[in-house]
Subunit: 158 residues, 2 copies
Amino acid sequence: MSADQETELRCSIARALEIVGDKWTLLIVREAAKGSSRFSEFHEALGIAKDVLGARLVALVNNGILLRQPYRDGSARSRHEYLLTAKGRDLLTVLGALGQWGEQYRPIEKPPYLSYVEAETGAPLTVQFVTHEGRQVEIDGVEVRLNPELSDALTGPG
Amino acid sequence: MSADQETELRCSIARALEIVGDKWTLLIVREAAKGSSRFSEFHEALGIAKDVLGARLVALVNNGILLRQPYRDGSARSRHEYLLTAKGRDLLTVLGALGQWGEQYRPIEKPPYLSYVEAETGAPLTVQFVTHEGRQVEIDGVEVRLNPELSDALTGPG
């Protein structure tokens, strides 16, 4: 394994993208967060080819993001539904961040498709950087730091 | 255009993913946020093929996420560097959310590659849902709401 690949594995963004770095995967998670649970619901809402959807659902189940479980719809035939696990629900922060970036930089005149509110109060929510004490920090005040251990290895010849 | 495609365009997550829904694109933004600005720096840090990197950089410039500007490195030959625009920097929230999900669900024993701190104080930062008043809300307390105007159109036959 090259130093470059090792660097990639070191990065948790890269590790996350190995699982969700695919447009359909995050849109399936979005649909599940919205309340879709059946193959046909995902298919209708996303307009995704059935074979692609099937493969993505298998991967999402294997990665512990969706739970596949049987349900009966009244007919004799048993079907399955797909439910977000806690691991899957924790991707809401990623979806919220992507959505607000899309709203800001690719606005359309219609109201947003989805919104995020506090369940208890209905208060609208946004995704922000915060300190451990809960103080919000604007993007301009955020500094991205490379782990000092890595700085030698990653200062390339430029 | 089908109803399904229209639904997709309605969704700001989908609109964002049209631009950044590609593993390399977000990793290039990560490198730029870390301080890389030259083609060779992106190439070294990511181990990405030069033609793929070139194409992604052109797209990022065309989409207003990176600014391409000339600089001189002492030699007669002029080169270019790529700097994050405000639009690009606003993707930090997406990267922060992806990174913390990766740390949580695909942990490794080594310290994180990147961290996010408040520039002024060095306070460590995380990405969270917050109310407009700045109150933090845990994922369990977040409700995803479909815009009521859309609920008819999107309640598929299931």
